[in-house]
């Protein structure tokens, strides 16, 4: 328990350091753009592939579980849309990004720590926490909602294709279903979750990397911890946010 509180305290101290005034905002702007490409744009591929197959599976499973003449077939499209918007695109994408982006951030910052690059920054009078972590947080906060939107669109397209190609639903019914009783607030809910998850993934992973001491073995451990802790926190905050925003 004491160890947990100590780590929590160190995490908030790091966050305080991260959100201090940058030395030269123009440099941070460039760095943020760079991180948006590195952490965000480069994740479009994996998010699209996963979302496509996720949408396909959701449609097929919904179809096989609602094989009853009482239920109109367009409900398959509706179920696919709501599952993707409410849960899969924000939460599953965040878990995937925790693995891809989180481990990347922890190992990059951890390697910089053990090779004294962070010390070099500090010695130049640069706030290393702000310089290394703030652009990553900003980049993911800006880009991850876009990834979620891509995931929603690709997921629904995947669902539509799988449904029509397998013959469980016609394209017209699917399109009717995804338009039926649409609640725009669900998109807001999904975006709020995405922003919180983006912050958790980046800050927790950066924290793990920033406090590495030792060698390459510890960098590997930090990378693993970054993925594990971010994933657990994503699931925990998923419950909290769902209760707060949908109840």
């Amino acid at each position: 328990m004491i160890r947990f509180l100590e780590q929590l305290g160190r995490y908030f101290i790091l966050l305080k350091k991260v959100f201090s005034k940058p030395e030269k905002p123009s440099l941070y702007y460039k760095q943020t753009l760079h991180e948006m490409i590195y952490l965000g744009f480069n994740s479009i591929g994996i998010i699209s592939i996963i979302s496509f197959f996720m949408g396909a599976v959701i449609t097929l499973q919904t179809a096989y579980n609602t094989e009853n003449p009482i239920y109109p077939t367009y409900l398959i499209g509706l179920g696919c849309r709501d599952s993707i918007i409410l849960e899969f695109s924000s939460t599953i994408s965040a878990l995937i990004l925790a693995g891809k982006v989180g481990s990347n951030i922890a190992s990059e910052i951890g390697t910089m720590r053990i090779t004294e690059q962070i010390d070099a920054l500090e010695m130049m009078g640069v706030n290393s926490a702000t310089y290394l972590i703030l652009p990553k947080i900003l980049a993911t906060l800006i880009f991850n909602p876009l990834l979620t939107l891509i995931s929603i669109i690709v997921g629904i397209v995947g669902g539509g294709l799988a449904g029509t190609l397998s013959g469980v639903i016609t394209l017209d019914d699917f399109i009717y279903g995804i338009q039926y009783a649409f609640i725009p607030y669900y998109i807001t809910y999904s975006m709020i979750k995405t922003l919180v998850f983006a912050f958790l993934i980046t800050s927790v992973s950066a924290f793990q990397g920033y406090h590495v001491s030792g060698g390459s073995l510890e960098v590997g451990r930090a990378s693993t911890k970054a993925v594990v802790f971010s994933s657990i926190l994503i699931l925990l905050f998923n419950v909290i946010l769902t209760q707060l925003l949908l109840s």
């Binding site: 910089m112 004294e116 690059q117 010390d119 070099a120 010695m123 130049m124 009078g125 706030n127």
Partner: protein, 251 residues
């Protein structure tokens, strides 16, 4: 002038520096020598503020450095250049970008002015035609030179070098030592070099401090070091058999 007064530093209850007091002379190449694990790097990192000391005082001229807040330390650190043991060049940046980094961060010069300074610094350390190379494409000696170029980019008042020639062949090591000495004289810097290399001691040691098990055992210059009666120092200086033979023939 840099003064360390009664410095104590422990890690997990193990005392690494024990009441260390030493004065580093301005405009000179000051050397901290000692065996591996003797506390040299901890002393150097304590002086520059990378380690918080348990007790004691660190003075840069008339400023009590270890009592300054983060912003105060930042101001003093902008007058420091540091050469780390592993060079600590930024992997994601080219040679040119590495040297330009402090200029980008702390000056409002135009890109042309910054590039001019970068080229001057790289030329000063004899790095030619490597502006676009990444650290992974440089040899160990080149990395050290680029790190020196980066350290002097902002014309620092103090230069700190942690094992500048570790992992280098003897000839390259001497070239790096000479470069450090030349730059120290050229810019009238106060330089502190951490080393266990006796070649460095004999090449550039204007003031030498010998540390053993966290305690300062001896202070002097390179001519005095060969005549010292300090047994621990002599064991270190005349460690190899050839040096031992020379020592006994002198006696």
């Amino acid at each position: 002038m840099i003064i360390a007064k009664n410095i104590d530093k422990s890690f997990n209850g193990k005392k690494v520096l024990d009441n260390v007091s030493v004065t580093f002379e301005p405009g000179k190449t000051n050397l901290i020598i000692g065996r591996s694990g003797s506390g040299k790097t901890v002393l150097l990192k304590s002086i520059v503020g990378l380690h918080d000391i348990d007790n004691g005082e660190i003075w840069f001229e008339d400023v009590l450095f270890n009592k300054l807040d983060f912003k105060g330390k930042k101001d003093i650190r902008r007058q420091m250049g540091v050469l780390f043991q592993g060079s600590a060049l930024f992997d994601s940046m080219t040679t040119e970008q590495n040297v330009r980094f402090p200029l980008d961060m702390f000056t409002d010069d135009s890109l042309e002015e910054k590039n001019e300074r970068v080229n001057f610094c790289l030329k000063r350390v004899d790095i030619l035609n490597a502006n676009k190379l990444f650290p992974a494409e440089l040899s160990g000696g080149m990395k050290k030179r680029v790190a020196i170029a980066r350290a002097i980019a902002l014309n620092p008042k103090y230069l700190f070098c942690d094992e500048p020639n570790s992992g280098l062949d003897p000839i390259t090591a001497i070239l790096i030592d000479e470069l450090i000495k030349e730059i120290t004289e050229e810019y009238s810097m106060t330089t502190i070099v951490n080393t266990h290399d006796m070649n460095s001691v004999m090449e550039i040691g204007e003031k030498i401090v010998f540390i053993n098990e966290g305690v300062i055992c001896w202070e002097g210059n390179k001519s005095e070091i060969l005549k010292s009666d300090n047994e621990i120092l002599n064991d270190f200086v005349f460690a190899n058999s050839l040096a031992k033979q020379l020592r006994s023939s002198q006696k």
